[in-house]
Symmetry: C2
Subunit: 361 residues, 2 copies
Amino acid sequence: MPNPRSHDGPTLASVAQRAGCSPITVSRVLNSPEIVSPELRERVIAAAAELSYHVNVAARTLASIRTNTVGVILPSLTIHIFTDVLRGIYDGVRDTNLRVMLGNSHYDQNEEERLIREFLGQKPAAMIVSGIEQTASSRRMLEAAKCPVIQIMDLDDDPIECIIGFSHFDAGYQITRHLVEQGYRRIGFMAGWVNKRSLGRLNGWRRALEEAGIYDPARVLADMTDDRLIDPSAPDDLRYGDPSSALHGRMMLRKLLAVDGGIDAVFCNNDIFAVGALFEAQALRLRVPEDLGIAGFNDTDLVRASHPPLSSLRTPRYEIGLRAAGEAVCRLDQNSRTPAIIDLGIEVAVRTSTMRPQASG
Amino acid sequence: MPNPRSHDGPTLASVAQRAGCSPITVSRVLNSPEIVSPELRERVIAAAAELSYHVNVAARTLASIRTNTVGVILPSLTIHIFTDVLRGIYDGVRDTNLRVMLGNSHYDQNEEERLIREFLGQKPAAMIVSGIEQTASSRRMLEAAKCPVIQIMDLDDDPIECIIGFSHFDAGYQITRHLVEQGYRRIGFMAGWVNKRSLGRLNGWRRALEEAGIYDPARVLADMTDDRLIDPSAPDDLRYGDPSSALHGRMMLRKLLAVDGGIDAVFCNNDIFAVGALFEAQALRLRVPEDLGIAGFNDTDLVRASHPPLSSLRTPRYEIGLRAAGEAVCRLDQNSRTPAIIDLGIEVAVRTSTMRPQASG
DNA sequence: CTGTTAGCGCTTTCAC
DNA sequence: GTGAAAGCGCTAACAG
């Protein structure tokens, strides 16, 4: 007489019965096959296959101390930078027994805190969170968590445990240095709204200009937190979905030129803005790179294909995801929680859009 | 003496003890508050808050028949069309007790089958899968599944249960009709590689041209399955990550023009291709829309910002995700498995890139 | 409306 | 190398 609460599939016990052993042996074959005698092991594997047995994850989780779920919390599921990271994470756990539990914080620290609390409640195998801007309470929870915690996309002296990313300051500095070396002198910066990481880039931009003695604070367009609504006629999901829009880039270039018509180059906080700026330059009949140098950020596919191709700063997005998953796996294996700061580096990708004909600056 | 196997947090029992009632009452407050007397309920809620109690999902899952996890399997986590869908799904379950378990099939039906098997093994509350091209075995499993199954992104006479999408044939037909009405006569089609849905668009394109008596099979560039490698110098993750690249779009326009230099308009299988085609047209000094009309597909932010703005076909990606989640919730609530074919419709977004000056065709 | 009883399927601990 | 017993935290069923 079957129990109505029972799920229908085969259980450990039924496999055991068929293999002629006890349930615990089946469990061992599943979890540490090497400690079971080869002969018995084969029998169990055969029995499991015949029944097409599949573990009940909930039961396993309940009975064991730890789950095999890694919690991943990202600020956006649409912005290409994070979709690349996510792909890396998924690829990184592909051949392990780990699962991904994904949360979208919508760039909201309180939402992030809520998700962290919820995920931690499920005793994840590891946690991967984005950036270092967690609320105090989030940080406390993460520090108290009894699992590896990986922060990504940034670098910090004082990570919760392990942080994997690159220096946004260096990134901003290097791409701006490149512009300076090309002879551009009135170099603007455009960002939609500025989080900790964008601010790092902005500071790098500023430093490079200060060193060259050509810094002018008027040439920055950032912190437009209230200005994220970009196209009133757009459908809601597009209007609010992604604060990094090409239209926004066009608008910002226009504003920048209104402030200083003599701006000769612009560093855009992401490639989409840069492409927007390029389109605006075309509309204004500004020649790129002669009249205006344009540099993007992230080095996505788009900027390699534009006309002219845009210089950008290559960021190791996919690698960060992959490595984050790898670190989680490795920390789990070794049961270590060694602090680590992993800099995956960056690279300036120089293309036509910033190759200024060598007239005098 | 604490049990070493026990997880540290408070349990139902501890909340019950504090509230001075039995565990099952606490469980009821959590699951169907309305059947508990207000007074007791308040006490329980207070006790739970004081202990900062959080349910153990594994235990709940094990003890109940069904989980609150909806399995979502998407062919890509980077292509914008699916990231929009995913965002819709996440938003759709936001205020429910449902969780998302996400799988990436990498456009591989066998991988999809593997994921379906794995997810189904966990008795999900519902399944959301993309398209109607599942393997026979996948289809069988899904039909046998005792949970709502939602297919998305397409329409089909014979869905497993519920399908939410739009007609790709109509989409291709309508945008091509628009081009014909604008007076374009030699209209090409470009697609990187063709799945069932792209093929629908292609057939719509073909039909519209046949009706106008201007169909020429030479003007299609598709099924380039072996040609997805677009930029040998690109880093691996970018090279293989996303088959929809702007560079690919540039290359395809060039090929199309090589086949027929007189092509006067092109329908691109996605907006990224369309932007690539636009850049290539600029490089070739073709005027858009005078010399070449360009239409994209999906109506993403990018094509509204280009110069000139590109016509495209608006697809309800976000809405599909939202609705899929909604249907799952509703089917769960009503315990119904009524077949449904839900067409969320499309719309031609007409912009400058296809507004042909009214000379004679 | 509330409580009692009995598991859900697995793994841990400790014997053998 | 293998097994027996116990229990993870919760909820279904039924009783009161």
